[in-house]
Symmetry: C2
Subunit: 359 residues, 2 copies
Amino acid sequence: MDTIRVSLGDRSYPIYIGSKIMQDQDLVQNAITAKQVLIVTNNVVAPLYLRQLETTLSAKQQHSLILPDGESEKTLPTLSRVLDVLVQKKFHRDACLIALGGGVIGDITGFAAACYQRGVEFVQIPTTLLAQVDSSVGGKTGVNHPEAKNMIGAFHQPNCVLADTDSIRTLPKRQFYSGLAEVIKHGLILDREFFDWLEDNLINVLTQDMNALTYIVRKSCEIKADIVAKDELEQGARALLNLGHTFGHALESLKGYGEWLHGEAVAIGINLAAETSRELGMLDAEDCKKIRSLLTQANLPIVDPNIDSNELFKLMKLDKKNSSSGLRMVLLKNLGKGVVITNPNEKIIKKVLQAQSKS
Amino acid sequence: MDTIRVSLGDRSYPIYIGSKIMQDQDLVQNAITAKQVLIVTNNVVAPLYLRQLETTLSAKQQHSLILPDGESEKTLPTLSRVLDVLVQKKFHRDACLIALGGGVIGDITGFAAACYQRGVEFVQIPTTLLAQVDSSVGGKTGVNHPEAKNMIGAFHQPNCVLADTDSIRTLPKRQFYSGLAEVIKHGLILDREFFDWLEDNLINVLTQDMNALTYIVRKSCEIKADIVAKDELEQGARALLNLGHTFGHALESLKGYGEWLHGEAVAIGINLAAETSRELGMLDAEDCKKIRSLLTQANLPIVDPNIDSNELFKLMKLDKKNSSSGLRMVLLKNLGKGVVITNPNEKIIKKVLQAQSKS
């Protein structure tokens, strides 16, 4: 088992990564000390892992809430359902919420923990690759507004993250590939060596070799933990993690949540960010091609031929990463070197969007 | 004008207290630096102050939202209305929300600021005595759950508080008296001298002498700022501020929000806490009488003859200040010395409740 520490003063916490972690009674019981726990999960994950977790936590006063699966559930009304259970079952301030599932479950559960009684503990047990390499780490929680993704939320750090790499193997393949988009993103913004490793070892990742899986989760968590420790509230360096997300979120809004998986939208966004970087003379054509190639080999989309580029551009301008000074985007100077740009040339962005939408 | 500083490291902020502060263009413009502002207010306060504030802020991109008045509005659906405006008007992360009104407006607006894009700035312009002496200071924000008060929220400190003492004079008298309950509470938990001053000078307060009003606001803010600076997240000393609130919140839940004003419920709660303290042998009968007398002179209720004491006790046990180890209550050792007690003798509490409900 690997342990990575997210260093945030009195909000520091460990990420445990490895095979069969969820079955490790000692680890789970030490990680979750509260007497009262509410396990929040969904109807896809529950049949796989809920019973086992309930057994492990049998000494505690516990309840569970099984939500429907899907990004379309990440709303204020669903948050309200979680809060209703907490109130009705008389959960106290020293209770702990447990998010058992992917990014949607983690985001809703974390936000409920942030809001209930102005903040109670929570633990992340991410069961998807995407959640293990990205959303479970760093304390971003929240729900979508019907008109814009992740618009409502809180920074609320978990008490710990339990990333059981076996659960990756039970994922539908499309979801697995979707998680790889964030893994590739981590290499692109900060770690050339990791990008190169992914190019060389993608076959082992795609065949779900356990060593390769553990390595990409660990490496991603290390990169993300490092950025979050430097900039918890995203006032600087943390913005780099949004590579591909300005395009990606706009695409998800335009298509409706659920049409593209989050990682797929991010993959398209990464390719568009790379193309924009190339058009601006920041990234050379060869590197651009490498990015396209790695994304494609990872079975990820790089364009959406059916987008209306004007509509997409309008939605990008609503992105919450913007300030009132204008559009803010993450672009690439090199493989392994992301950079935040304010007010990039709009004509070039539109040109890239138009070219992609026709391709 | 008086200025008090709430010392919270990089979340420190000033409280400006005095007459005609809202008309002080330089002060208001310096205090609110954001380019985009959303003023949230209600239909009682808007006719009195909104136009003037809009004029003062005319250089900014501004919108206003006028909510219905009342505690019954402090709900997740109302929060949702504020967030809808922010999304629809394309407010950025560097925008500022302005709460113009009493405690309900401050709590909703502050919580919207805490949640929108995981946190934007906000400024409190409290227009009631209760908000000036209590709810606008300290960063507690939130909404009620249908079954329990203030159950959903966040700690989110304002950028500054502008307490215009003239606005106190436009309050309905019942609301003014309601605010005095929190003023008296501040003396009781921590400052015997202030309690004595209130006994000696209540007539000047009741006749709304401007010096007396400014003094009670300043003194209350000083006491509260001091506690909040020591214990922002209510893990220790801050709990003292809940004197009268375990009973008070239960009473508000039992009667439905709006039957008793918050301060009235707190006044009844303070009296019950004093009686409980006396029954437990902590507070002598003479001091108990002084408390009853000051509350009564301030035109505040000290009992509710129509409560079902069993129901009230059940609701107290749901109070969010409790831990899973049991009921937590603030009681009094002396005038000027509050103390947090875990698991006080339930029989004595029930006895006090029964005695009060029949009196």
